[in-house]
Symmetry: C2
Subunit: 457 residues, 2 copies
Amino acid sequence: MKNRILIFVFFLLSSACLTLTAQNADSLTIKRIFSGALTDTTSYYNLRYLTGHYGGRLAGSAQSLKAVKWTEQVLRNMRLDTVFLQKCTVRHWERGGKETGKVISAKAGNHNLSICSLGGSVPTAGNGLTAKLVEVKDYDELKKLGKEKVSGKIVFINHPADPSLYNTFAAYGGVAGYRVRGAVQAAYYGAVAMIDRSATTSHDNFPHTGILHYADTVTKIPALSVSTNDAEKLSHWLKTDPDLTVFLKASCNELPETASYNVIGEIRGTEHPEEIIAFGGHLDCWDICQGANDDGAGVVQTIDVLRLFKSLQLKPKHTIRVIVYMDEEMEQRGAKAYADAAKDRKHIAAIEADRGSFTPWGFSIDAADEQVKKVQSWKNLLLPYGLFYFEKGGSGVDIRDLKPQGVPLFGLVPDSQRYFDYHHSVNDSFDKINIRELQLGTAAMAALVYLIDKYGL
Amino acid sequence: MKNRILIFVFFLLSSACLTLTAQNADSLTIKRIFSGALTDTTSYYNLRYLTGHYGGRLAGSAQSLKAVKWTEQVLRNMRLDTVFLQKCTVRHWERGGKETGKVISAKAGNHNLSICSLGGSVPTAGNGLTAKLVEVKDYDELKKLGKEKVSGKIVFINHPADPSLYNTFAAYGGVAGYRVRGAVQAAYYGAVAMIDRSATTSHDNFPHTGILHYADTVTKIPALSVSTNDAEKLSHWLKTDPDLTVFLKASCNELPETASYNVIGEIRGTEHPEEIIAFGGHLDCWDICQGANDDGAGVVQTIDVLRLFKSLQLKPKHTIRVIVYMDEEMEQRGAKAYADAAKDRKHIAAIEADRGSFTPWGFSIDAADEQVKKVQSWKNLLLPYGLFYFEKGGSGVDIRDLKPQGVPLFGLVPDSQRYFDYHHSVNDSFDKINIRELQLGTAAMAALVYLIDKYGL
């Protein structure tokens, strides 16, 4: 009996030692990953090139196709095992030049508005429209006004994003719906156009654009976003002169759908090449900005995960693959094309990086409870690099279509405080990027990929 | 017996319920604290005023005294229970105008260097000095060269901060010693001046200054900092022409010591007014910058903790006190004056905010293990606000003199990735401040003060 106990104790100790040794090896590899990321400037200069040369690369645009070509060349230069384009068909909406917005009032004065069309908006007819303005805070107020008071007017939805919320994505989520569906709601009551307050807690002079949805049941009316500062002023002028009129001119244009591409590159797995760990960001961005944080950062970081694996000579057992998605901003056609094609290949996990270039905190995990727990068991390896967040939650719209296939999904979660200051506005430019924060995002994803590849989910 | 068990179970359940209710009340109060901080712009505009009007407020300077006066007025306007100045005597070192640094070489060309005197440096004699340059990476290399090869020359210590380290304070700590003691080491081998590579991982064109220490045993030689970009170039030019000379001119001036002040304000405790929970940042900053992150942010945030308590009508049991310290950068004379005076009053805790305005992560705690554990037991209340870091470690130089009095010390720990990009250089300016990140630092400290006040340590 005593011997049996001794053997058992010995067994326990051996397992503990083996676990410790494995943890130690992992800890050293993860240290190499972070050091490797922090001492290489490739992703930063890739982002500088992408944003500097191919800004405004909205799906369907000439810029987006140039960006596809450039991305493909970047991946080819890395001498990966596979590089290919994956075709998708995308909308081709154009802004057609800068919009005009003017307040016209004898009492409140004449003022230019800092304004831009929402993505997918119809143009104003002819040489623009002039109409009275009616301000509402939400759909309840709109409903109360009813057709009588709204018909023939421009509806101005002035609902500020709630700054009291810690989570800026929650603050954004609380108002983005007005941008997406406000035009339909306003048109239902007979409005001739809709102006939405920009979806940001920031007080700035830049309109923040973004996609809008129309419905077949009501007239498609022009929909524009006004900067938060001008939203405050507009509200003030309207109190000074309830009869003021606004002139709007927008020359948007919806062209025929056209071909575009996801760009894909991979390092083949040594043991299970048929099984894939996927990660990616989206190449397209709004036409009015460089798309540095949304989502040039995610693109160069996920590409850099492959570079890191190569330069550190980490040989993954499973195939690791970057997908540079097309058309996240409008219709996620690239994501759909990828998910369709993915049915043929087992995906162990998919990671999306689309929340900016800021210091990474961890991952939001859309997977089974046991899988979440498994990832949480790696926390001590990652905490020394500020990665403390590994919680159940949504991942991202470019990978969500993999969920029905049972793929565990991960969204990289960086610090979110500054993201919506830049989001979908001209402020989303390269000068907002901090090289170390960018590099750390790469390292966080590479560390997760390394652990998933080694231990599975 | 059965009854006793029932009573015991009832007792357990009641305690659990009471604990839960207390936690719920705390959770609601902490939510109010964060909402209150995120919806008030006072600290941001205080910082804009302070940095815009009283930049370069090094201890001893006219600017620093104006800043003291302004700070006192800010506290008086808040209608606190007590506001007072606490005298200290400070050094009065002046830069005396912009420094000149020039490379002179027939082979490598003539070039201006982006250079500035280190804090406390002696000037160059007469109209400047011209000497040959010798580059070393560290003191071992300096020792190997010895007096023969160093004497009469300018020593250039070119030791880059290690970018591979995740913790930028560790990277800074690895090189700051060359700035502090490099002049003494170089002078020991007969050098006529010392040029130090700026202590930052950032590649920029701005010299980063900071304090240096002389020793009585060796000649005081002029000591300057060169921007990291120019350090790279200088090294390159020196390889091109090992005989190149450098011209240096610095007009620093050490004036007689002079009077200055800590600024102190407090809300009196309702139950234990004689016991103090203290928090503060330092008002002085280097003369070449606005001192927005180092440490205007800490000043306005800790002042804002008092504003928050007042506006939320939180009545602390103990006196809560802000100390706006003078002279952190040179000799910590304000800190010493405070610690001396503090002997008469029991301090429950002291918090220092001096690591920049970035998103707060938590606190570094210099206290007994049980006190650290107690703070860690509050983690679940704070984690919803991204506060995950509550670890044993150093606090800050303005409160460390309270340690011998047994005071538990806390250092606010924000995200550190960008701090040393700005630190002690002209880049430490107001435009680098994000309002939400600044506000969150206030909230983090207010929440900690609230919990310490309620539950003790």
